[in-house]
Amino acid sequence: MKQSGNILFSGVGGQGILLASELTAYAQLAAGFDVKKSEVHGMAQRGGSVVAHLKYGEKVYSPLIDPGTADIQVAFEEMEAARYLPYLHRDSAVVVNTQKILPPAVATGKASYPDNILDELRNRGINVVALDAFAVAREMGELRTANVVMVGAMSNFLAVTPQIFLDVIDQKVKEQFREVNKNAFQAGRDLVHA
């Protein structure tokens, strides 16, 4: 099993990055790793670009991922997948939800949303896995499980077994939402072949 790694979560404030990164952290803890996670609260949460750093290993000191060292990025929005490019390296895997949320300058017609932005990552040799997490979540019958679909897809790139994630969902998610979240995780996992 890989002995350490860095996972970057990015998206737009209010998209629910927190739950996705929490489930991942708990799974890595259950697998026996030391884990640290860094978030930013306050002003940054009001619809702005947000990012969470998760690091695991035998002993983790810094809570921040160094530029050029994110092994996996989980992006909840397309442009937010590309914004953190300096954190990635050529062997990074980027799991991205193909949603586009227009930033103020675009919504007001002052700028345009870049076309084919994910190609910017692919052209640099980065493994980009694009999926419509909302479509999958809708099939599950609960739109709010889109985060967990993303975690499921991302889990293919980790050595942690899927059962550990399913156990974490059992422990951390309220009973009435457990089954749908476990299904969402599995559906996300089945979408990707790492």
């Binding site: 952290a25 609260h41 306050g42 002003m43 619809g47 000191y61 810094s62 160094d66 007001t108 700028a111």
Partner: protein
């Protein structure tokens, strides 16, 4: 490592500090919300056997904690870095009095200004107020070190400063749970020589401070929290706080002197360490605090000539600053449209700032809160932002400087919680000194930016229980404001009319712009109307776009497309409401003159 055991937890630094405060037997805690400190009080308020409260400002919070200490129990005051400026008055004299129960004053600094107006380094307060300061490196250490802070406070009869930064407060890590220590019984004890700081007793206490600092300097030499981690000595590091983590990852084999107490410093320990290593480098975020004092000891070292003094550090920056050739090439960032934070869809502040943005001669003196986002385009309706409460006083100062020229132009905008924090004293000044400025209180019934904390006007205490609520109208009239007008900012036509009238007045007037924050739980639960874009009617006039609402987007079209859609050929685009995001405030519907935005039920 398993979290199934009850004693091992996964906590943020702030959650760990709340747990640490409870374990340390804290019985009274007071604070004012401020990122990144807020969750400490929020979490502590959920524990049994500790009294917690939101104070109207940091000075009040600290004085409450001093009072509890004088009554013989352990007490905690929490604040963000700039809050310590507000609390500095009691802080500097509490250094003279000491207390009875342990007193810890927590400052949460925000290097990089993630959610702050400056990035002051509050280690300087330890030096200036002659107080010891502890600084942990992660959540687990923060919890343990807080207990140590209370022990030190009682052993040496001193308030203890406890400094964290964003990367302690909002970092999650593994924390071990412990039992709560035995708490003390409160009592009244009159100690005038210690508690009454008139010149006579204060001069006596002044000498006590010097003795105390001497004892602390001696104690620092043997304190477990100041530890040497052996390693290669070609290059040795002195560091503290989260910077320690970056040194450990950038130079894992190097010898490190980790300072858990950053003031006063263990001089002998530093000398011994300096002698042992070939080259000494000080790694610290923000000011050269350790470096300055270590250089003053006559010790040769390097610090800020290598390490940046602005913004946060990380392992990469530390490595690159010291060994530039050791880091590889990074991908260049892409040129992407920025995504700054924005007021939410349906935010009541938007209606008010929209009206202000349409008033050309008005100068808007702003303040600290969600509404500071009124500065951003397309509203661009804020002209100053300095500190809590300064909107009122800066508007008054400008109006006095401008005289006749400022009449009908000077407006202050501040939130409900900010008004109570330190706006009310400014308003009293405006009334007393006959200001012609207009004060707008944007009252959204909560302290929104920090995550919806209750305040003295919200009707609930920190635990969410019913509490006395201040009535702003009565308060403003009581201090002598003759004109107090309440408007609903979602009603743009009425708001515009009221603003025009009140701003034109040559006496101090107060406009209370009142509508609840859309993120309040009761508002989230409320079934709201949904607005809908009838695209056939949209003329592309962009009146709604000028609100800057995240639920409304502009869709550019070519002349061909516009004809195809039945628009005039010159129409450059159309706007559309995202019905999922819409919170039904109706501001855009008021602005649309072409019936392109209507209530969903109507269609």
């Amino acid at each position: 490592m398993t979290l199934n055991k009850k004693e091992t937890l996964w906590l943020s630094g702030n959650e760990a500090i709340a747990l640490g405060a409870w374990e340390a037997g804290v019985q009274v805690a007071s604070g004012y919300p401020g990122t990144p400190s807020t969750e400490i009080m929020e979490n502590l308020s959920t524990y049994a056997d500790v009294y917690t409260e939101w104070a109207p400002n940091e000075k009040v919070g600290l004085e409450v904690a001093i009072g509890a200490s004088f009554a013989g129990v352990r007490a905690l005051a929490t604040m963000k870095h700039v809050g310590m400026n507000v609390a500095a008055d009691p802080l500097f004299t509490a250094s003279y009095t000491g207390g009875r129960g342990g007193l810890v004053v927590l400052t949460a600094d925000d290097p990089e200004m993630h959610s702050s107006q400056n990035e002051q380094d509050n280690r300087n307060y330890a030096f200036a107020a002659k107080l010891p300061m502890l600084e942990p490196s992660d959540p687990a250490e923060a919890k343990v070190m807080l207990l140590r802070a209370f022990e030190l406070s009682e052993e040496l009869d001193t308030p203890v400063l406890f400094r964290i930064t964003t990367r302690i407060a909002h970092v999650k890590g593994v924390v071990q749970k412990s039992d709560r220590v035995a708490t003390s019984d409160p009592s009244i004890e009159k100690m005038p020589g210690k508690f009454v700081m008139l010149p006579g007793p204060a001069r006596v206490r002044r000498a006590v401070i010097e003795k105390r600092m001497q004892s602390l300097r001696e104690l620092a030499e043997t304190l477990d929290e100041n530890r040497v981690e052996e390693g290669t000595v070609t290059r040795g590091f002195i560091t503290s706080g989260t910077s320690y983590n970056y040194v450990k990852e950038a130079f894992p084999d190097a010898a490190v002197l980790k300072l858990g107490m950053v003031w006063p410093l263990p001089e002998q320990k530093i000398r011994d360490f300096a002698q042992k290593v070939d080259e000494l480098i000080i790694v610290e975020e923000l000011d050269p605090f350790l470096e300055t004092h270590i250089k003053a000891m006559g010790i040769h070292c390097r610090g800020k000539e290598l390490i940046p003094s602005q913004g946060e550090l990380n392992s990469f920056i530390v490595r690159k600053s010291i060994d530039p050739d050791s880091v590889g090439q990074l991908f260049e960032p892409l040129d992407l449209p920025m995504r700054p934070p924005n007021m939410c869809a349906g935010c009541p502040h938007r209606g008010l700032f929209y009206c202000l943005s349409r008033m050309k001669d008005v100068f808007v003196s702003g303040d600290i809160g969600c509404y500071t986002l009124g500065f951003l385009p397309p509203l661009s309706a804020m002209d100053t932002c300095v500190c809590m409460g300064a909107s009122v006083t800066i508007a008054h100062g400008m109006s006095k400087a401008l005289g006749k020229e400022g009449e009908g132009k000077m407006v202050a905008v501040l939130g409900d919680s900010t008004f109570i924090h330190s706006g009310i004293t400014g308003l009293i000044n405006s009334v007393y000194n006959d200001s012609n400025s207009t004060v707008i209180i944007v009252d959204n019934r909560t302290t929104a930016m920090t995550g919806h904390q209750h305040n003295p006007a919200s009707g609930c205490n920190i635990k969410g229980e019913a509490a006395n609520a201040i009535n702003f109208e009565e308060l403003c009239r009581a201090v002598g404001v003759k004109r107090v007008v309440v408007v609903n900012p979602h009603d743009i036509d009425e708001t515009r009319k009221v603003l025009k009238e009140e701003i034109a007045r040559t006496e101090t007037s107060v406009v209370i712009s009142r509508a609840p924050c859309v993120l309040l739980p009761e508002e989230v639960r409320r079934k709201k109307p949904v607005y809908w874009t009838n695209l056939d009617n949209c003329t592309g006039c962009t009146a709604c776009i000028r609100l800057g609402c995240p639920a409304i987007s502009w869709n550019p079209i070519t002349p061909g497309e516009s004809v195809e859609r039945g628009y005039k050929e010159k129409q450059k685009g159309y706007s559309m409401i995202n019905e999922v995001q819409c919170n039904g405030c109706g501001q855009c519907a008021v602005l649309c003159k072409f019936d392109a935005i209507t209530l969903k039920e109507d269609n």
